[in-house]
Amino acid sequence: MAKKKVAKKVAKKPTKKVAAKKPALKAKTSKKTTKKVVKAKKVENTYKSLEASLVELIKNTSSVLPDDVQKVILEALHREEKNTTAEYAMNIIKANIELAKKKSQPLCQDTGTVLFFVSHPIGFDQHKFTKEIQKAVVKATELGYLRQNSVDSLTGENSGMNIGAGHPSIHYHQHNKKTVEVKLMLKGGGCENVGAQYSLPYTPLEAGRDIDGVRKVILDAVHKAQGKGCGPGVLGVCIGGDRGAGYVESKEQLLRRIDDINDVASLAELEKEIVNTSNKLGIGPMGFGGKTTLLGCKISALNRLPASFFVSISYMCWAFRRQGIELGDKNQIKKWLY
């Protein structure tokens, strides 16, 4: 236990610095400091504090739900009728969110697939960064922020440290900014198992290759999931792409804030429609029956081949663990992204 406390203190350090600096930071200064990031790479201890920043990111992601998610959960609680099992479930969910935050303990014992999305400037060393992420994941597992959750698919052996082929899952994107942004999502097995991929036309629903066909299969996926994905949940959807790209994009849609509005008008409308109609199905929290089945839906489209028309759907449970950080010049946490 004593060891744990010390480690926590170390991990907290960078955030404290940020908090102190925050008011003084202006847009201009932030640009200046990020330029230094690229130059500062040669400094020996840079990556030491990067590991601490990443452990802090994992800890917060595992134990604290982002504000936009908490907001829709509270709204869902108030919507349910009093003295129903649905309201009962939502009240326990609310209490769990508060307790996990207070204790800095995992919201859910299934800390899920560890998915990193890193946006970085040109000239960034991905190999080095990957090693730092791996170190941070091992540390976070030792500290109990992550469960031992990585199993060799052939031997059934648990690596015990969440490291192995494909684990953790890291997606790199180069962007035009000078800063490094690291987003993290922890996605549990229960909700991952109810994800679905449809190929249009889909005869059982008479779903054709148009927006109405897309709507039909998304609603079908919500029905098939019932309460098994620990609803009320949030959908990330990709229309088009190949099978692989479609699923990855559907997960990246879950990086959007729940309250944002899609730039594409037809998709913004579809997102709204899916939430409204799903909530009329009466599946409710945990599948107990009730008013809230979905908390949100985020959709994007990728180009497809003339021969293919996939709709890929990722379901995220109510314990929607996602957070992100912008790194400062010493790889400290400069800003929280959600």
Binding site: Y88, N96, L107, G287
Partner: protein, 191 residues
């Protein structure tokens, strides 16, 4: 809100109906995939499960190095449907009175509940901290060779919150909601 207090009996659980919100006080035995498979393969349970409740849960347990005392850090339910092939037989063979899990179970288990006087309690998925707080002590651990999440943990709990979603009278909230939401879906797809 109903209360179910140890020692449990088949008569007690037969009184429970789908939709009842219940607070359980007493003993729970965790058991998930590997335990069910092993029992089903004919291995005798290491502890008498007569009139006991099995909890589908792979808890996070820490052992104090000095005192050797176990503490449950997180203990939400895991998806129950994976035990569907085994659950009814476990009810029959070992005389359990209840199962706690999440997501519900299928027709074989529902029939087993009716025949052997058993209920399925739904705990709130993801609520690992609230549920861990209801655990007062870890009283024993069996079959640790299966690994910590898969072992049988004997737990004492106070007012552990659950909802009856499958009762001993053949009723299942899960099949009811699945059917009613299928009707609504049909309407929505015609719009």
């Amino acid at each position: 809100m109903k209360k179910l207090t140890y020692p449990f009996t088949h008569e007690q659980v037969r009184d429970l109906k789908v939709g009842d919100m219940v607070l359980i006080t007493g003993k729970l035995f965790t058991g998930r995939d590997a335990v069910h498979k092993r029992l089903h393969d004919g291995v005798k349970p290491p502890v008498d499960l007569t009139n006991q409740i099995i909890y589908h849960c792979g808890p996070v347990v820490l052992k104090d190095k000095k005192t050797g005392i176990h503490q449950v850090m997180a203990a939400g339910p895991t998806t129950s449907i994976r035990e569907e092939p085994y659950q009814a037989d476990v009810m029959k063979e070992f005389g359990i009175v209840g199962v706690i899990g999440k997501g519900g179970m299928g027709p074989k288990t529902l029939a087993g509940c009716k025949e052997y006087g058993c209920v399925y309690f739904h705990a709130i998925g993801g609520a690992a901290q609230v549920l861990a707080e209801k655990i007062d002590s870890v009283d024993a651990v069996y079959w640790e060779d299966l690994g910590s999440p898969e072992a049988i943990w004997e737990l004492s709990v106070t007012e552990f919150p659950v909802v009856v979603t499958m009762d001993a009278h053949g009723n299942s909230l899960h099949s009811k909601i699945e059917a009613s939401s299928a009707e609504e879906l049909k309407k929505a797809l015609k719009e």
